[in-house]
Amino acid sequence: MLKFILKRILIIVPMALLVVTVTWVLIRVAPGNFYSTERNLPAAIEENIKKKYGLDQPWYVQYGTMMGNILRLDFGDSLKYQGQSVNEIIARHFPYSATLGLLAYLLALAIGLFAGIVAALKQNSAFDYGTMAAAMLGLSVPNFVLGPILVLFFSLYLYWLPPARWGGPLYLIMPVVTLAAIYAAYIARLTRAGMLEVMRSDYIRTARAKGLNERTVLLKHGLRGGIVPVVSFTGPALASLLAGTVVVEKVFAIPGLGNIFIQSVLNRDEPLILGIVAFLSILIMIANLAVDISYGFLDPRIRYE
């Protein structure tokens, strides 16, 4: 088990470097650069800029310098936000995204699991149909539609909640709900399907034959097998919730990392792009590792090697 975790952690480093390399190539292959504007720069000035940022060196020297810096965990300064290091920028903006993502994750899990289990338990009931219809809606309505609708109703019509920006807990409600909706819907459907599948299995019949009541059969014998597919889903879900909240951050004007990430790409801000890419890829790999470890607690048959 420990060996497995260690191995997986060790593999994260080369994987992240690979992701960074691919990103670096993509930035270089794409036309344009961070100093290009509508007007052409005088040749002398362009020469100076290139010299300052080492762009006059051959590509392998540039790549080597970049990799050397990254291995020392120094992503350098942003090209756009003068005098701010990439590390500072990530440290400043990531907490917003993390808070938002984590809360949305927990909310989605709570709603999804509960709705899915009850729907499976009362299959073909009004609750089942209602939940699954709601889940279908949750899956179909994109968050850039759901967000503004919530704002329209709760802020501009009822005046209950602040429409945007970052403040107290009240500010969090709508962004978190908007973010969680699609995941809650997905988890509810996965849970329902998983539970229905498991409740048809032989060992559930055995549990019933023992005289256990339906509640015990469901929670003690059914649940663990039923939520295995949910766990596989929640790993990537957690990663993308922590990282990819761009749309919701835009809709609610929250200064999260997603927003900065998009800006950095538009600005061709190479150090910042590479820094965020490296950071997020490591985050995703850790989330996946956490899921793989939690499988072991769920299913005793799984062995780590």
């Binding site: 032989d202 055995t206 019933r208 034959a209 005289g211 009541n213 663990r224 299913d299 048959r301």
Partner: protein
């Protein structure tokens, strides 16, 4: 005991139907049988003959929908299980009647320790504390001859072989010393050497606990040495019911004769091809009006495809569902 004519279980005209897209499947269609205390009943039939469904009905374990016990009485020690509220059925299940299933590989919960799965039965029905239940679980594992039960009790099902798992299932089923044990093809999924061990085990524990047993199988060889009487089922109906000895000595139904012929006899038929009943069991959703076995029967005449056969009484304990029951009975006597 005497108040129910000595019968622990008395099933009368049981009908269990399934609603499917193909129409109503009459999986069990009007079967009756009795089981005395301490007695062992064998139920024999091909796949889909309704033998499992009949017994799941007795346990009230038919998934509903799509299944439904349409009619009939299931009297267990005088209690009509069919009319009992499900909460009261649960008090009987696992305590007074228990069941072991065909596939031990999937019948134990892979996520829970053996100890947990054994303990919850006695904690529920006998009011055991955790410590008592744990001790009892070890004791039961010892009874089913699992080596080092103190260690194995904390294992998970995947750490046990198929035969071992079936032993665990038996230990679980017998935890509360039930009056009735239903064994649904307990040896089908196991290899032959293990089969004999498991059957011996069931036999021994049945004598120790005085349990009545219903042994469901498609293998006549299995029931021969184990049972007091046998029911042969086909297409949801009882085709023949008789004491074991009599059924083997003088069957009164062509289907039973076919089954008996299909049991390989290594002593006499060395090198000869194995016999099998021609054709396949009928689709129970669309049964013909006549005898459901007529198409495959070597003795069938015109009447067999037109009229449903009568349930003929050969003698006090011997019945056969056939137009020519008496003739078949007489003919097999001379063989």
């Amino acid at each position: 005991m005497s108040e129910h004519n000595g019968n622990l279980l008395s099933v009368n005209d049981l009908r269990t139907y399934f609603q499917t897209e193909d129409g109503i499947v009459k999986a069990v269609d009007g079967i009756s049988f009795q089981l005395k205390r301490g007695e062992t009943l064998g139920i024999v039939g091909e796949s889909g003959s309704g033998k499992s469904v009949a017994n799941l009905s007795v346990m009230r374990l038919i998934p509903q929908p799509p299944g439904k016990i349409v009619s009939g009485d299931i009297l267990f020690d005088g209690i009509d299980v069919r009319k009992l509220p499900i909460d009261d059925v649960r008090k009987i299940r696992g305590k007074r009647m228990a069941m072991i299933f065909q596939d031990p590989m999937t019948s134990l919960n892979p996520f829970l320790k053996i100890s947990t799965q054994l303990m919850e039965v006695t904690q529920l029905h006998l009011g055991h504390t955790k410590e008592q239940a744990y001790e009892h679980a070890i004791e039961m594992l010892r009874k089913v001859e699992i080596p080092a039960p103190e260690k194995r009790v904390d294992g998970y099902p995947h750490e046990f072989s198929g035969g071992m798992r079936q032993r665990v299932m038996i230990a679980m089923a017998l935890s509360c010393e039930p009056e009735l044990l239903i064994a649904d093809e307990p040896t089908t999924a196991l290899d032959v050497t293990i089969q004999a061990q498991i059957l011996e085990l069931i036999k021994g524990l049945k004598d120790e606990f005085g349990t009545s047993v219903i042994l469901i199988t498609h293998d006549l060889g299995v029931v021969a040495g184990m049972t007091d009487k046998i029911i042969v089922m086909y297409a949801g109906k009882i085709f023949e019911a008789a004491p074991t000895k009599e059924l083997f000595a003088q069957p009164a139904n062509p289907y039973t004769k076919g089954l008996l012929k299909s049991v390989p006899d290594p002593a006499h038929e060395h090198g000869a091809p194995l016999y099998q009943i021609p054709g396949l069991p009928p689709d129970v959703a669309h049964l013909p009006p006549g005898c459901p076995f007529a198409e495959r029967c070597d003795r069938a005449e015109d009447i067999c495809t037109k009229e449903f056969p009568p349930f003929v009484q050969i003698n006090e304990n011997h019945h056969s569902l056939c137009h020519f029951a008496k003739e078949v009975h007489a003919a097999s006597g001379g063989e």
